[in-house]
């Protein structure tokens, strides 16, 4: 079990936790993820990309959005509590000196993008970062990105920060420049990654995406994470998590993500009711 060292709420739904995991902190590379579970007996296993690591402190940082019952349970854990944590999993991002790299991060996707930007910079690339979110509050890792990126473009759906646009707009503009970017990396909600891939396709800019599918073991044992890429079945946990965005069967991937939508909504609802009941009970006792 791994101990939570610190917790910070980054916005209404987004949390950053620092977890004690010395071996993971030492081994992890950009692009890798961990699987966490709020409790070993009944918890659900969820994959989270590593946002940052501190080998000196022996800890890693995870950023997640409390969207369902399991992420809410995780968000409810306070420093000192222990969680199940396995990693680092998946293949590290292939980093080389590409030349010019455009990195697009949508919402929570900015967290896993961070170590990749860091590694691309360290390898001597010129890096342009496009940070996007629904609204200003949901923009995370902005200081870090600002410090790392050669150019940093910010967009929000509602215009509350940066330009009022979708991330695909500046992405297309950059691809239209001459010379065009040598590589694009897009991490965010599946729809965003899909449209980023569509945006770069006509320009022939290779586009890496990082898929966050449903997972159980994260070791290649169950096949629950499988996707179709270029007509072939791939296991995201061992063959990925990064793939060529132009080859991913997005419809299938998104449909698989929603496999348990109905059950999850019910569980989420129940979780809310329970929390409300607990609050009431606590209030009553006072």
């Amino acid at each position: 079990m791994s101990r939570i060292l610190a917790k910070r709420r980054l916005s209404e739904e987004v949390y950053r936790i620092e977890v004690e995991a010395p071996l993971v902190a030492r081994e992890r590379k950009a692009g890798q993820f961990v699987i966490v579970q709020a409790d070993a007996e009944y918890g659900e296993r969820i994959p989270l990309t590593i946002a940052d690591a501190d080998p000196g402190r022996g800890s890693i940082s995870l950023i997640f959005q409390a969207v369902g019952a399991s992420t809410h349970k995780l968000a409810a854990k306070e420093p000192g509590a222990e969680i199940v944590l396995l990693g680092p999993l998946g293949n590290p991002t292939h980093i080389e000196r590409f030349g010019w790299a455009v990195c697009v991060g949508g919402g929570i996707g900015l967290a896993p993008l961070h170590p990749i930007v860091e590694a691309l910079k360290a390898a001597g690339n010129r890096v342009t970062v496009i940070s996007g979110a629904r609204t200003k509050d949901l923009l995370i890792m902005q200081e870090e990105m600002q410090a790392l990126a050669d150019e940093h473009l910010v967009v929000t759906d509602d215009g509350s920060a940066g330009r009022k646009a979708l991330v695909t707009e500046p992405l297309k503009e950059l691809c239209g420049q001459s010379p065009k970017p040598d590589i694009a990396v897009a991490i965010g909600p599946p729809v965003m990654m899909k449209f980023c891939a569509e945006a770069t396709r006509p320009f022939g800019v290779r586009t890496l995406v990082s898929l966050n599918t449903i997972m159980i073991d994260g070791t290649g044992m169950c096949g629950g994470c499988r996707v179709t890429v270029g007509g072939e079945t791939k296991f995201v946990c061992v063959d990925g998590p990064e793939f060529d965005g132009h080859l991913v069967d997005w419809e299938l991937m998104m449909s698989r993500l929603k496999s348990y939508k109905k059950l999850e909504d019910e569980a989420h609802e129940r979780c809310h009711l329970e929390q409300a009941a607990e609050r009431l009970a606590a209030g009553g006792a006072r």
């Binding site: 070993a40 399991s70 199940v84 070791t219 290649g220 169950c222 096949g223 059950l263």
Partner: protein
């Protein structure tokens, strides 16, 4: 399998026992004793619960069954057992009523009898060559060795007599075990007995391998696996859970930096095979590993306590004919499916599953569609699995080996409605360790290559179980774990 209740079976056995008490039995008397059926939960009732189906013999049943054994001098049963348990020896102790001694005899060679008694394919191993079965012209009438083994192990556990094997004097040597399935657990015990320090690394949050994530509660209660792991802990074996060797730490680093003197790899098969047919990645299609892991390890049957969801199914098709297929089908029924079919390309005779499990599945209402195999998974309007296109087969002429292989019947395709498909056609070797340890030699199928003493291509690294054999059995995995332990103990002398 019997229609009689546990009580009725026990009463019958008690009556038979009175008849033979104090008598010296001739072989003829033994042949005449009734084979003892396994008391089971009622098929309708058990379809609604996760409790163990087979309830085990009581003392009277065990003693009658034991008295059927002729105690053959040449003991053909022993040669059928992969770990050579002294079968006539332990059965003789049951005949005498000394169950504690019976347990000691078994444990000389088999460390996990409560598990093996439940899951070994006895009809193809120890019970196949049994003289009694041969004399009575039916393998079903062989001495029920597995049931007796289970009785002894359960008796020992509930009597509190089961002690942990003693760890030897500390040698200062350290051994790392990768994987906590039967191969790893067995190897750990034997190495620890020698006094070496042992750490077991396990990727999952619980120890036991397939015994906790694959084989369902209704066939192998998890409490048993937990108590076996507890025995190891009491011997001083340390478990490091949530630790994936190859990722959390490289195999090489265990030897080079972490001070281990030897490593045993018992990482299991663990890479599910799919059929490679169109539509196989649709929502509603699962590997048996995923389906069973959700249900067993993650306890998805225990909603709402468990957070892991399981797919709500009405009509389920399970593809395959082994234990994994039986477990998946029976699990789906218990999770509320209305109709569950097993699609198998051959016939019942060729099914590799344990006979008892096939029988139990049939009693519970699983439908068997023999000589059929799917060609496509079809999606409905919502993009999810809605139907299977299935092709029928006929058995062809026997080939050189005398086996009649199935031949597709052209034009026999039918489209049948299924909202869930569970693929249970086997596992290949998980490539993770080989990929992260380039010096580790594997064969074309990804199985780790070992010599006759289980040594791999790397010095001081041994391997055994499914990662070497391909998907095999608990007892074979244990046998390999033992052999590796013997080799490790020798090297570390």
């Amino acid at each position: 399998m019997s229609d009689l209740s546990k009580e009725a079976l026990a009463a019958g056995a008690r009556a038979a026992l009175e008849g033979i008490e104090g008598k010296a039995l001739s072989p003829k008397d033994r042949l005449a004793l009734p084979v003892q059926d396994m008391p089971c939960q009622d098929p309708v009732a058990r379809g609604q619960n996760m409790h163990e189906v087979a309830q085990g013999y009581d003392e009277a049943q065990a003693r009658i069954e034991a008295n059927r054994c002729l105690g053959c001098k040449n003991a053909p049963c022993v040669s059928g057992c992969p770990v050579r348990v002294d079968i006539p020896g332990f059965i003789a102790e049951i005949q005498k009523g000394d169950f504690a001694q019976a347990a000691r005899v078994i444990k000389r060679t088999n460390l996990l009898p409560s598990i093996c008694g439940r899951v070994c394919p006895q009809e193809g191993q120890c019970q196949a060559p049994c003289t009694l079965g041969k004399s009575l012209k039916s393998i079903d009438k062989a001495v029920q060795i597995g049931r007796l083994e289970r009785f002894v192990a359960d008796w020992e556990r509930s009597s509190g007599a089961a002690g942990a094997p003693a760890a030897g004097h500390a040698t200062g040597k350290r051994v790392a075990i990768v994987g906590s399935g039967p191969a790893g657990l067995t190897c750990a015990v034997d190495v620890r007995r020698q006094g070496h320090e042992v750490v077991i690394y396990e990727a999952f949050q619980k120890a036991g391998g397939v015994m906790v994530y694959g084989i369902p509660e209704f066939r192998l209660p998890k409490e048993l696996v937990r108590s076996e792991a507890g025995v190891l802990e009491s011997m001083g074996v340390r478990f490091e859970l949530n630790y994936l060797v190859g990722r959390t730490r490289k195999l090489r680093a265990l030897l080079a930096e972490d001070g281990f003197d030897a490593v045993f790899i018992g990482a299991g098969a663990g890479l599910p095979k799919f059929m490679d047919i169109p539509g196989e990645n649709l929502v509603g299609v699962f590997s048996a590993n995923e389906y069973l892991t959700r249900a067993n390890l993650m306890k998805a049957y225990d909603r709402p306590r468990a957070a892991t969801p399981i797919y709500p199914s009405r009509r389920v098709a399970v593809l395959g004919g082994g234990n994994v297929a039986m477990d998946s089908a029976r699990m789906a029924l218990r999770l509320g499916a209305e109709e569950v079919h097993i699609l198998y390309r051959r016939t019942r005779e060729e099914m590799p599953a344990r006979a008892e499990e096939v029988g139990h599945a049939m009693e519970e209402g699983v439908v068997f569609d023999f000589l059929s195999s799917p060609t496509r998974v079809l999606a409905g309007a919502d993009g999810r699995c809605e139907a299977l296109e299935v092709l029928s087969y006929a058995l062809g002429e026997p080939d050189a080996s005398g086996r009649r292989s199935p031949v597709a019947i052209k034009g026999s395709e039918k489209v049948l409605p299924y909202d869930t498909v569970i693929v249970a056609i086997g596992n290949e070797s998980n490539p993770l360790l080989a990929r992260t340890t380039p010096e580790l030699k594997v064969d074309r199928k990804g199985h780790i290559i070992v010599d006759e003493r289980q040594k791999t291509s790397i010095e001081r690294v041994y391997a055994g179980g499914d990662i070497v054999l391909g998907a095999a059995t608990v007892i074979l995995a244990m046998g390999e774990g033992r052999r590796a332990a013997a080799a490790i103990n020798e090297v570390l002398q």
